[in-house]
Protein backbone atom coordinates (compact mmCIF):
# COMPACT_ATOMS: atom_id res chain seq x y z
CA UNK A 1 0.00 0.00 0.00
CA UNK A 2 1.04 3.56 -0.55
CA UNK A 3 1.88 6.44 1.73
CA UNK A 4 0.58 10.00 1.43
CA UNK A 5 2.66 12.83 2.92
CA UNK A 6 1.02 16.21 3.51
CA UNK A 7 3.53 18.83 2.37
CA UNK A 8 4.31 21.69 4.71
CA UNK A 9 4.91 25.06 3.09
CA UNK A 10 5.34 28.68 4.11
CA UNK A 11 5.52 31.86 2.05
CA UNK A 12 5.38 30.06 -1.26
CA UNK A 13 8.23 27.66 -0.50
CA UNK A 14 8.30 24.01 0.48
CA UNK A 15 9.22 23.82 4.18
CA UNK A 16 12.26 21.80 5.17
CA UNK A 17 10.07 19.68 7.45
CA UNK A 18 8.61 17.88 4.43
CA UNK A 19 11.94 16.26 3.51
CA UNK A 20 12.15 14.81 7.04
CA UNK A 21 8.64 13.40 6.76
CA UNK A 22 9.39 11.84 3.36
CA UNK A 23 12.45 10.23 4.98
CA UNK A 24 10.16 8.69 7.61
CA UNK A 25 7.85 7.53 4.80
CA UNK A 26 10.81 5.89 3.06
CA UNK A 27 11.55 3.91 6.22
CA UNK A 28 7.96 2.66 6.28
CA UNK A 29 8.04 1.90 2.54
CA UNK A 30 11.29 -0.07 2.95
CA UNK A 31 9.31 -2.71 4.83
CA UNK A 32 6.39 -3.13 2.47
CA UNK A 33 7.50 -1.45 -0.74
CA UNK A 34 4.67 1.02 -1.21
CA UNK A 35 4.85 4.22 -3.24
CA UNK A 36 5.21 7.62 -1.62
CA UNK A 37 2.92 10.41 -2.77
CA UNK A 38 3.06 13.98 -1.55
CA UNK A 39 -0.06 16.13 -1.30
CA UNK A 40 0.52 19.84 -1.81
CA UNK A 41 -2.62 21.72 -0.79
CA UNK A 42 -2.93 25.48 -0.85
CA UNK A 43 -3.49 28.38 -3.20
CA UNK A 44 -0.91 29.16 -5.89
CA UNK A 45 1.30 26.23 -4.94
CA UNK A 46 2.71 25.22 -8.35
CA UNK A 47 6.33 25.98 -7.47
CA UNK A 48 5.95 24.15 -4.15
CA UNK A 49 4.68 21.07 -6.00
CA UNK A 50 7.71 21.18 -8.30
CA UNK A 51 10.04 21.32 -5.30
CA UNK A 52 8.22 18.38 -3.69
CA UNK A 53 8.56 16.40 -6.93
CA UNK A 54 12.35 16.64 -6.66
CA UNK A 55 12.45 14.95 -3.22
CA UNK A 56 14.12 11.57 -3.47
CA UNK A 57 11.75 8.63 -3.20
CA UNK A 58 8.58 10.52 -4.09
CA UNK A 59 6.70 8.90 -6.97
CA UNK A 60 3.80 11.30 -7.38
CA UNK A 61 2.87 14.77 -6.22
CA UNK A 62 -0.83 15.51 -5.96
CA UNK A 63 -1.72 19.17 -6.08
CA UNK A 64 -4.92 20.62 -4.64
CA UNK A 65 -4.51 24.22 -5.75
CA UNK A 66 -7.61 26.07 -4.63
CA UNK A 67 -8.54 29.07 -2.51
CA UNK A 68 -10.38 26.61 -0.23
CA UNK A 69 -6.99 25.34 0.98
CA UNK A 70 -5.27 28.68 1.49
CA UNK A 71 -3.60 28.76 4.93
CA UNK A 72 -4.37 25.04 5.27
CA UNK A 73 -7.30 25.59 7.63
CA UNK A 74 -8.13 22.37 9.45
CA UNK A 75 -11.72 21.94 8.30
CA UNK A 76 -11.21 21.86 4.47
CA UNK A 77 -7.72 20.32 4.62
CA UNK A 78 -8.87 17.44 6.82
CA UNK A 79 -11.88 16.87 4.55
CA UNK A 80 -9.56 16.72 1.52
CA UNK A 81 -7.20 14.25 3.18
CA UNK A 82 -10.11 12.10 4.36
CA UNK A 83 -11.39 12.03 0.77
CA UNK A 84 -8.01 10.90 -0.58
CA UNK A 85 -7.23 8.49 2.29
CA UNK A 86 -8.88 5.49 0.63
CA UNK A 87 -5.87 5.07 -1.68
CA UNK A 88 -3.37 4.81 1.16
CA UNK A 89 -2.20 2.72 4.10
CA UNK A 90 -0.45 5.65 5.81
CA UNK A 91 -1.03 9.40 6.02
CA UNK A 92 1.94 11.35 7.31
CA UNK A 93 2.58 14.98 8.20
CA UNK A 94 5.17 16.86 10.19
CA UNK A 95 4.38 17.32 13.88
CA UNK A 96 4.22 21.06 13.22
CA UNK A 97 1.33 23.24 14.27
CA UNK A 98 -0.17 22.52 10.82
CA UNK A 99 0.19 18.75 11.06
CA UNK A 100 -1.01 18.67 14.66
CA UNK A 101 -4.02 20.77 13.75
CA UNK A 102 -5.11 18.77 10.72
CA UNK A 103 -4.17 15.10 11.18
CA UNK A 104 -6.18 14.23 14.31
CA UNK A 105 -9.22 15.66 12.55
CA UNK A 106 -8.55 13.41 9.54
CA UNK A 107 -8.07 10.38 11.80
CA UNK A 108 -11.40 10.94 13.58
CA UNK A 109 -13.18 11.44 10.23
CA UNK A 110 -11.84 8.01 9.24
CA UNK A 111 -12.59 6.53 12.70
CA UNK A 112 -8.98 5.55 13.32
CA UNK A 113 -6.43 6.48 15.97
CA UNK A 114 -3.67 8.95 15.29
CA UNK A 115 -0.08 8.36 16.33
CA UNK A 116 1.67 11.56 17.32
CA UNK A 117 5.27 12.65 16.93
CA UNK A 118 6.96 9.40 15.97
CA UNK A 119 10.75 9.41 16.30
CA UNK A 120 11.43 5.93 14.86
CA UNK A 121 9.82 3.38 12.56
CA UNK A 122 10.03 -0.21 13.83
CA UNK A 123 7.74 -1.69 11.16
CA UNK A 124 4.87 -0.38 9.03
CA UNK A 125 2.53 -0.58 12.04
CA UNK A 126 4.92 -0.11 14.96
CA UNK A 127 6.55 3.15 15.96
CA UNK A 128 8.45 4.78 18.78
CA UNK A 129 7.26 8.06 20.23
CA UNK A 130 8.19 10.14 23.24
CA UNK A 131 5.65 10.48 26.04
CA UNK A 132 5.82 12.47 29.28
CA UNK A 133 7.77 15.17 27.44
CA UNK A 134 10.45 12.70 26.46
CA UNK A 135 10.91 11.22 29.93
CA UNK A 136 9.77 7.91 28.46
CA UNK A 137 9.74 6.40 24.99
CA UNK A 138 6.70 4.33 24.07
CA UNK A 139 6.64 1.67 21.39
CA UNK A 140 3.13 1.55 19.97
CA UNK A 141 1.41 -0.65 17.43
CA UNK A 142 -1.57 0.49 15.40
CA UNK A 143 -4.27 -2.06 14.61
CA UNK A 144 -6.04 0.28 12.21
CA UNK A 145 -5.96 -0.37 8.45
CA UNK A 146 -5.16 3.31 7.94
CA UNK A 147 -2.31 4.73 9.99
CA UNK A 148 -2.44 8.47 10.53
CA UNK A 149 0.88 9.71 11.85
CA UNK A 150 2.67 12.93 12.69
CA UNK A 151 6.45 12.85 12.51
CA UNK A 152 8.84 14.65 14.85
CA UNK A 153 11.24 16.02 12.27
CA UNK A 154 14.27 15.87 14.58
CA UNK A 155 13.88 12.07 14.60
CA UNK A 156 14.61 11.65 10.89
CA UNK A 157 17.32 12.96 8.60
CA UNK A 158 16.18 14.71 5.44
CA UNK A 159 15.67 12.74 2.26
CA UNK A 160 17.91 14.13 -0.47
CA UNK A 161 16.75 16.54 -3.15
CA UNK A 162 17.26 14.99 -6.60
CA UNK A 163 18.16 18.38 -8.01
CA UNK A 164 17.06 19.62 -11.42
CA UNK A 165 19.03 16.91 -13.24
CA UNK A 166 17.95 13.94 -11.19
CA UNK A 167 14.45 13.49 -12.58
CA UNK A 168 11.31 14.13 -10.65
CA UNK A 169 8.00 12.66 -9.62
CA UNK A 170 4.87 13.15 -11.70
CA UNK A 171 2.70 16.08 -10.71
CA UNK A 172 -1.07 15.61 -10.90
CA UNK A 173 -3.92 17.93 -10.03
CA UNK A 174 -6.52 16.87 -7.48
CA UNK A 175 -9.90 18.42 -8.16
CA UNK A 176 -11.55 17.70 -4.82
CA UNK A 177 -12.82 20.99 -3.40
CA UNK A 178 -13.91 20.88 0.23
CA UNK A 179 -16.74 23.26 1.13
CA UNK A 180 -16.10 25.25 4.28
CA UNK A 181 -18.45 27.81 5.74
CA UNK A 182 -17.43 27.21 9.36
CA UNK A 183 -14.02 28.81 9.55
CA UNK A 184 -12.31 31.74 7.90
CA UNK A 185 -8.76 33.05 7.92
CA UNK A 186 -8.51 36.55 9.37
CA UNK A 187 -4.81 37.30 9.71
CA UNK A 188 -1.37 36.00 10.47
CA UNK A 189 1.32 37.80 12.47
CA UNK A 190 4.59 36.04 12.02
CA UNK A 191 7.49 37.02 14.21
CA UNK A 192 9.58 39.48 12.21
CA UNK A 193 12.88 38.16 13.38
CA UNK A 194 15.97 37.33 11.41
CA UNK A 195 16.51 34.59 13.93
CA UNK A 196 15.33 31.06 13.24
CA UNK A 197 12.29 29.78 15.03
CA UNK A 198 12.90 27.91 18.32
CA UNK A 199 11.51 24.59 17.13
CA UNK A 200 13.51 24.55 13.89
CA UNK A 201 16.80 26.20 14.93
CA UNK A 202 20.07 24.27 14.69
CA UNK A 203 21.42 26.24 17.65
CA UNK A 204 19.42 27.48 20.64
CA UNK A 205 20.73 29.70 23.42
CA UNK A 206 18.44 30.02 26.45
CA UNK A 207 18.56 32.17 29.54
CA UNK A 208 17.22 31.37 32.97
CA UNK A 209 16.53 33.16 36.22
CA UNK A 210 20.26 33.74 36.53
CA UNK A 211 19.99 36.35 33.76
CA UNK A 212 18.59 38.63 36.45
CA UNK A 213 16.37 40.77 34.23
CA UNK A 214 14.75 41.05 30.82
CA UNK A 215 17.31 43.68 29.74
CA UNK A 216 20.15 41.26 30.41
CA UNK A 217 18.72 38.89 27.79
CA UNK A 218 20.32 41.25 25.25
CA UNK A 219 23.62 39.66 26.33
CA UNK A 220 22.45 36.60 24.38
CA UNK A 221 21.73 38.56 21.19
CA UNK A 222 25.29 38.91 19.91
CA UNK A 223 26.04 35.23 20.46
CA UNK A 224 22.76 34.23 18.82
CA UNK A 225 23.61 36.45 15.83
CA UNK A 226 27.02 34.86 15.42
CA UNK A 227 25.71 31.30 15.72
CA UNK A 228 22.45 31.79 13.81
CA UNK A 229 20.71 30.70 16.98
CA UNK A 230 17.18 31.05 18.30
CA UNK A 231 16.78 32.48 21.80
CA UNK A 232 14.82 30.60 24.44
CA UNK A 233 14.18 30.84 28.16
CA UNK A 234 13.45 28.66 31.15
CA UNK A 235 10.08 28.73 32.85
CA UNK A 236 11.70 30.48 35.82
CA UNK A 237 12.77 33.35 33.54
CA UNK A 238 9.28 33.53 32.04
CA UNK A 239 7.58 33.40 35.44
CA UNK A 240 9.90 36.15 36.68
CA UNK A 241 8.58 38.30 33.83
CA UNK A 242 11.96 38.64 32.07
CA UNK A 243 10.69 37.43 28.68
CA UNK A 244 7.40 36.41 27.07
CA UNK A 245 5.91 32.95 27.38
CA UNK A 246 6.48 32.00 23.74
CA UNK A 247 10.22 31.80 24.43
CA UNK A 248 9.76 29.09 27.04
CA UNK A 249 11.61 25.82 26.49
CA UNK A 250 10.33 22.99 28.63
CA UNK A 251 7.63 20.48 29.31
CA UNK A 252 4.88 23.08 29.12
CA UNK A 253 6.65 25.21 26.52
CA UNK A 254 8.52 24.35 23.34
CA UNK A 255 10.34 21.04 22.99
CA UNK A 256 13.59 21.56 21.14
CA UNK A 257 16.35 19.24 19.95
CA UNK A 258 18.95 21.39 18.18
CA UNK A 259 22.53 20.45 17.28
CA UNK A 260 23.75 22.80 20.01
CA UNK A 261 21.87 24.01 23.08
CA UNK A 262 23.47 26.60 25.32
CA UNK A 263 21.82 27.00 28.74
CA UNK A 264 22.85 30.19 30.50
CA UNK A 265 21.95 30.85 34.12
CA UNK A 266 19.56 27.90 34.06
CA UNK A 267 19.64 25.55 37.05
CA UNK A 268 18.08 22.64 35.17
CA UNK A 269 14.65 21.98 36.68
CA UNK A 270 12.97 18.78 35.44
CA UNK A 271 10.45 20.83 33.54
CA UNK A 272 13.22 22.57 31.57
CA UNK A 273 15.30 19.43 30.98
CA UNK A 274 12.25 17.74 29.49
CA UNK A 275 12.20 20.37 26.78
CA UNK A 276 15.85 20.24 25.68
CA UNK A 277 17.60 17.07 26.73
CA UNK A 278 17.40 15.50 23.27
CA UNK A 279 19.70 18.23 21.95
CA UNK A 280 22.85 16.78 20.33
CA UNK A 281 25.32 18.89 22.31
CA UNK A 282 24.43 20.75 25.51
CA UNK A 283 26.51 23.53 26.99
CA UNK A 284 25.75 24.92 30.45
CA UNK A 285 27.07 28.18 31.83
CA UNK A 286 26.21 28.67 35.48
CA UNK A 287 28.01 30.03 38.51
CA UNK A 288 26.57 27.31 40.77
CA UNK A 289 28.67 24.24 40.16
CA UNK A 290 26.06 22.06 41.90
CA UNK A 291 23.33 23.06 39.42
CA UNK A 292 21.58 19.94 38.02
CA UNK A 293 21.99 21.29 34.48
CA UNK A 294 25.64 20.17 34.64
CA UNK A 295 24.50 16.54 34.89
CA UNK A 296 23.11 16.64 31.37
CA UNK A 297 25.58 19.10 29.87
CA UNK A 298 28.31 17.83 27.56
CA UNK A 299 30.35 20.91 28.37
CA UNK A 300 29.87 22.79 31.60
CA UNK A 301 31.44 26.13 32.39
CA UNK A 302 31.25 27.27 36.00
CA UNK A 303 31.43 31.01 35.60
CA UNK A 304 29.66 34.29 36.13
CA UNK A 305 27.53 34.67 33.02
CA UNK A 306 28.02 38.44 32.98
CA UNK A 307 31.71 37.85 32.35
CA UNK A 308 31.46 34.67 30.31
CA UNK A 309 28.85 35.87 27.78
CA UNK A 310 30.75 38.93 26.47
CA UNK A 311 33.92 36.86 26.29
CA UNK A 312 32.14 34.06 24.43
CA UNK A 313 30.66 36.54 21.98
CA UNK A 314 34.07 38.04 21.25
CA UNK A 315 35.67 34.63 20.69
CA UNK A 316 33.13 33.16 18.30
Amino acid sequence: MSILVLAEHHDGALAGATAHVVAAAQQIAQHDGGDIDVLVAGEGVGAIADAAARLDGVSRVRVADNAAYAHLLAEPTAALLAELAGDYSHLLAAASTTGKNVLPRVAALKDVAQISEIIAVESPDTFKRPIYAGNAIATVQSEDALKVITVRTTGFDVCPDRGTEGGSASVEAVDVVAENSQSAFIKEELAQSDRPELGAAKVVISGGRGMGSGENFTLLDGIADKLGAAIGASRAAVDAGFVPNDMQVGQTGKIVAPELYIAVGISGAIQHLAGMKDSKVIVAINKDEEAPIFQVADYGLVADLFEALPELESKL
Partner: protein
Amino acid sequence: MKVVVSIKRVIDHNIEARVKPDHSGVELTNVKMAMNPFCEIAVEEAVRLKEKGIASEVIAVTVGPKAAQEQLRTALALGADRAIHVETDERVESLGAAKALAKVVEAEQPGLVILGKQAIDSDNNQTGQMLAALTGLPQGTFASEVVIDNDKAQVTREIDGGLQTVELSLPAIVTTDLRLNEPRYAKLPDIMKAKKKPMDVKTPADLGVEVASKVKLLKVEPPAERQGGVKVGSVDELVDKLKNEAKVIS
Protein backbone atom coordinates in the same frame (compact mmCIF):
# COMPACT_ATOMS: atom_id res chain seq x y z
CA MET B 1 -24.63 29.74 26.05
CA LYS B 2 -23.31 26.69 27.84
CA VAL B 3 -19.59 26.03 27.84
CA VAL B 4 -18.29 22.49 28.19
CA VAL B 5 -14.74 22.14 29.42
CA SER B 6 -12.93 18.84 29.26
CA ILE B 7 -10.18 17.96 31.72
CA LYS B 8 -7.74 15.11 32.33
CA ARG B 9 -6.13 13.70 35.45
CA VAL B 10 -2.39 13.30 34.90
CA ILE B 11 0.82 13.00 36.86
CA ASP B 12 1.65 16.34 38.51
CA HIS B 13 3.85 18.33 36.14
CA ASN B 14 6.48 18.92 38.82
CA ILE B 15 7.11 15.20 39.20
CA GLU B 16 9.54 13.33 37.01
CA ALA B 17 7.90 10.40 35.25
CA ARG B 18 9.65 7.11 36.01
CA VAL B 19 9.36 4.07 33.78
CA LYS B 20 8.25 0.88 35.55
CA PRO B 21 10.94 -1.80 35.75
CA ASP B 22 8.83 -4.20 33.63
CA HIS B 23 8.53 -1.54 30.87
CA SER B 24 4.75 -1.76 30.91
CA GLY B 25 4.28 1.94 31.47
CA VAL B 26 5.09 4.84 33.74
CA GLU B 27 4.85 4.42 37.52
CA LEU B 28 1.65 6.06 38.77
CA THR B 29 1.27 4.30 42.13
CA ASN B 30 1.77 6.70 45.04
CA VAL B 31 2.59 9.49 42.61
CA LYS B 32 0.99 12.90 43.02
CA MET B 33 -1.69 13.45 40.39
CA ALA B 34 -3.18 16.73 39.28
CA MET B 35 -5.23 18.40 36.60
CA ASN B 36 -3.32 18.61 33.31
CA PRO B 37 -1.85 22.16 33.10
CA PHE B 38 -3.46 22.92 29.73
CA CYS B 39 -6.83 21.79 31.15
CA GLU B 40 -6.42 24.26 34.04
CA ILE B 41 -6.13 26.98 31.39
CA ALA B 42 -9.28 25.62 29.72
CA VAL B 43 -11.23 25.76 33.00
CA GLU B 44 -9.98 29.28 33.68
CA GLU B 45 -11.07 30.47 30.23
CA ALA B 46 -14.53 28.95 30.67
CA VAL B 47 -14.94 30.53 34.11
CA ARG B 48 -13.84 33.93 32.78
CA LEU B 49 -16.46 33.65 30.02
CA LYS B 50 -19.04 33.08 32.72
CA GLU B 51 -17.76 36.03 34.75
CA LYS B 52 -18.08 38.21 31.64
CA GLY B 53 -21.68 37.08 31.26
CA ILE B 54 -20.98 35.29 27.97
CA ALA B 55 -21.30 31.76 29.33
CA SER B 56 -24.48 30.88 31.20
CA GLU B 57 -23.19 27.62 32.61
CA VAL B 58 -19.82 25.85 32.74
CA ILE B 59 -19.87 22.07 32.66
CA ALA B 60 -16.64 20.19 33.44
CA VAL B 61 -16.25 16.73 31.93
CA THR B 62 -13.65 14.02 32.23
CA VAL B 63 -13.27 10.51 30.88
CA GLY B 64 -11.27 8.31 33.20
CA PRO B 65 -11.04 6.32 36.42
CA LYS B 66 -12.99 7.05 39.59
CA ALA B 67 -10.06 8.97 41.06
CA ALA B 68 -10.45 11.59 38.30
CA GLN B 69 -13.43 12.92 40.27
CA GLU B 70 -10.81 14.68 42.37
CA GLN B 71 -9.88 16.82 39.34
CA LEU B 72 -13.55 17.41 38.52
CA ARG B 73 -13.98 18.72 42.09
CA THR B 74 -11.03 21.02 41.46
CA ALA B 75 -12.75 22.33 38.31
CA LEU B 76 -15.92 22.90 40.36
CA ALA B 77 -13.90 24.76 43.00
CA LEU B 78 -12.43 26.94 40.26
CA GLY B 79 -15.91 27.94 39.13
CA ALA B 80 -17.49 25.22 36.99
CA ASP B 81 -21.20 24.78 37.81
CA ARG B 82 -21.53 21.04 37.46
CA ALA B 83 -19.53 18.03 36.36
CA ILE B 84 -19.96 14.93 34.24
CA HIS B 85 -17.72 11.96 34.90
CA VAL B 86 -17.53 9.31 32.20
CA GLU B 87 -16.09 6.59 34.36
CA THR B 88 -13.87 3.89 32.89
CA ASP B 89 -10.78 1.94 33.89
CA GLU B 90 -9.85 1.25 30.27
CA ARG B 91 -6.68 2.78 28.82
CA VAL B 92 -8.38 5.63 27.01
CA GLU B 93 -6.62 7.57 24.29
CA SER B 94 -7.74 10.52 22.24
CA LEU B 95 -10.23 8.89 19.88
CA GLY B 96 -12.08 7.12 22.69
CA ALA B 97 -12.17 10.26 24.81
CA ALA B 98 -13.38 12.30 21.82
CA LYS B 99 -16.18 9.78 21.17
CA ALA B 100 -17.41 10.05 24.75
CA LEU B 101 -17.11 13.85 24.71
CA ALA B 102 -19.03 13.99 21.40
CA LYS B 103 -21.96 12.27 23.14
CA VAL B 104 -21.81 14.81 25.96
CA VAL B 105 -21.75 17.65 23.42
CA GLU B 106 -24.72 16.12 21.63
CA ALA B 107 -26.69 15.99 24.88
CA GLU B 108 -25.66 19.37 26.31
CA GLN B 109 -25.60 21.44 23.08
CA PRO B 110 -22.93 23.89 24.30
CA GLY B 111 -21.98 26.99 22.33
CA LEU B 112 -18.32 26.36 22.99
CA VAL B 113 -16.16 23.43 24.09
CA ILE B 114 -12.74 24.20 25.56
CA LEU B 115 -10.04 21.58 26.02
CA GLY B 116 -6.34 21.64 26.82
CA LYS B 117 -4.31 21.32 23.62
CA GLN B 118 -2.37 18.37 24.97
CA ALA B 119 -2.11 16.18 28.05
CA ILE B 120 1.38 16.06 29.53
CA ASP B 121 1.27 12.27 29.96
CA SER B 122 0.53 10.89 26.50
CA ASP B 123 1.50 14.14 24.72
CA ASN B 124 -0.93 13.33 21.92
CA ASN B 125 -2.45 16.72 21.13
CA GLN B 126 -5.47 15.15 19.41
CA THR B 127 -8.66 15.09 21.45
CA GLY B 128 -9.97 18.57 20.60
CA GLN B 129 -9.36 18.13 16.89
CA MET B 130 -11.00 14.68 16.97
CA LEU B 131 -13.99 16.00 18.89
CA ALA B 132 -14.36 18.73 16.25
CA ALA B 133 -14.36 16.10 13.50
CA LEU B 134 -16.86 13.85 15.28
CA THR B 135 -19.27 16.69 16.03
CA GLY B 136 -18.75 18.34 12.64
CA LEU B 137 -17.75 21.59 14.34
CA PRO B 138 -14.95 24.03 13.47
CA GLN B 139 -11.81 24.06 15.59
CA GLY B 140 -9.51 26.73 16.97
CA THR B 141 -6.49 24.88 18.31
CA PHE B 142 -3.56 26.20 20.40
CA ALA B 143 -5.50 29.34 21.31
CA SER B 144 -3.79 32.31 22.91
CA GLU B 145 -6.88 34.52 22.68
CA VAL B 146 -10.59 33.79 22.27
CA VAL B 147 -13.07 36.57 21.56
CA ILE B 148 -16.76 35.68 21.41
CA ASP B 149 -18.91 38.01 19.32
CA ASN B 150 -22.54 36.96 18.92
CA ASP B 151 -22.53 33.71 16.98
CA LYS B 152 -18.83 33.78 16.11
CA ALA B 153 -15.53 33.21 17.86
CA GLN B 154 -12.30 34.87 16.83
CA VAL B 155 -9.50 32.61 17.92
CA THR B 156 -5.85 33.65 17.84
CA ARG B 157 -3.74 30.55 17.47
CA GLU B 158 -0.09 29.99 18.34
CA ILE B 159 1.45 28.60 15.18
CA ASP B 160 5.08 27.89 14.34
CA GLY B 161 6.70 31.27 13.95
CA GLY B 162 3.86 33.46 15.14
CA LEU B 163 0.13 33.88 15.51
CA GLN B 164 -2.81 33.14 13.25
CA THR B 165 -6.32 34.45 13.78
CA VAL B 166 -9.31 32.52 12.48
CA GLU B 167 -13.02 33.20 12.77
CA LEU B 168 -15.21 30.25 13.64
CA SER B 169 -18.96 29.91 13.56
CA LEU B 170 -20.40 28.76 16.90
CA PRO B 171 -20.67 26.18 18.27
CA ALA B 172 -16.96 25.55 18.04
CA ILE B 173 -14.14 23.63 19.67
CA VAL B 174 -11.19 25.50 21.16
CA THR B 175 -7.96 24.04 22.55
CA THR B 176 -5.77 26.09 24.86
CA ASP B 177 -2.15 27.08 24.61
CA LEU B 178 -0.01 28.46 27.42
CA ARG B 179 -0.55 32.15 26.79
CA LEU B 180 -4.35 32.08 26.82
CA ASN B 181 -4.56 32.99 30.50
CA GLU B 182 -3.05 32.43 33.92
CA PRO B 183 -5.20 30.05 35.91
CA ARG B 184 -6.29 31.12 39.38
CA TYR B 185 -5.90 29.02 42.51
CA ALA B 186 -8.97 27.58 44.18
CA LYS B 187 -9.92 29.30 47.45
CA LEU B 188 -10.79 27.24 50.49
CA PRO B 189 -14.47 28.32 50.70
CA ASP B 190 -14.83 27.45 47.00
CA ILE B 191 -13.27 24.05 47.60
CA MET B 192 -15.89 23.46 50.33
CA LYS B 193 -18.71 24.66 48.09
CA ALA B 194 -17.49 22.47 45.23
CA LYS B 195 -18.26 19.37 47.30
CA LYS B 196 -21.96 20.16 47.01
CA LYS B 197 -22.04 20.91 43.30
CA PRO B 198 -23.71 18.25 41.13
CA MET B 199 -21.66 15.50 39.53
CA ASP B 200 -23.26 13.16 37.07
CA VAL B 201 -21.51 9.78 36.68
CA LYS B 202 -21.99 7.78 33.49
CA THR B 203 -20.24 4.88 31.84
CA PRO B 204 -19.12 4.76 28.21
CA ALA B 205 -21.83 2.11 27.73
CA ASP B 206 -24.47 4.58 28.98
CA LEU B 207 -23.30 6.89 26.20
CA GLY B 208 -23.18 4.07 23.65
CA VAL B 209 -19.48 4.41 22.91
CA GLU B 210 -16.37 2.26 23.17
CA VAL B 211 -13.42 4.12 24.59
CA ALA B 212 -10.63 1.52 24.77
CA SER B 213 -7.64 2.43 22.62
CA LYS B 214 -6.93 0.52 19.43
CA VAL B 215 -3.28 1.42 19.63
CA LYS B 216 -1.35 -1.26 21.51
CA LEU B 217 1.23 -0.04 23.96
CA LEU B 218 3.98 -2.62 23.44
CA LYS B 219 6.54 -1.19 25.83
CA VAL B 220 7.70 1.94 27.56
CA GLU B 221 11.40 2.56 28.04
CA PRO B 222 13.44 5.28 29.64
CA PRO B 223 15.10 7.55 27.10
CA ALA B 224 18.77 7.00 26.30
CA GLU B 225 20.83 8.32 29.18
CA ARG B 226 23.00 11.28 28.39
CA GLN B 227 26.71 10.68 28.84
CA GLY B 228 28.03 12.61 31.80
CA GLY B 229 29.86 15.60 30.37
CA VAL B 230 33.00 17.46 31.28
CA LYS B 231 33.60 20.78 32.93
CA VAL B 232 35.71 23.21 30.97
CA GLY B 233 37.96 25.71 32.66
CA SER B 234 37.51 28.73 30.43
CA VAL B 235 35.57 30.27 27.57
CA ASP B 236 38.55 29.55 25.31
CA GLU B 237 38.45 25.87 26.16
CA LEU B 238 34.69 25.82 25.60
CA VAL B 239 35.01 27.39 22.15
CA ASP B 240 37.82 24.99 21.28
CA LYS B 241 35.77 21.93 22.33
CA LEU B 242 32.73 23.09 20.39
CA LYS B 243 34.82 23.68 17.28
CA ASN B 244 37.19 20.74 17.32
CA GLU B 245 35.60 18.02 19.44
CA ALA B 246 31.82 18.42 19.11
CA LYS B 247 32.18 20.14 15.71
CA VAL B 248 28.92 22.02 16.20
CA ILE B 249 30.33 25.47 15.44
CA SER B 250 32.80 26.57 12.81
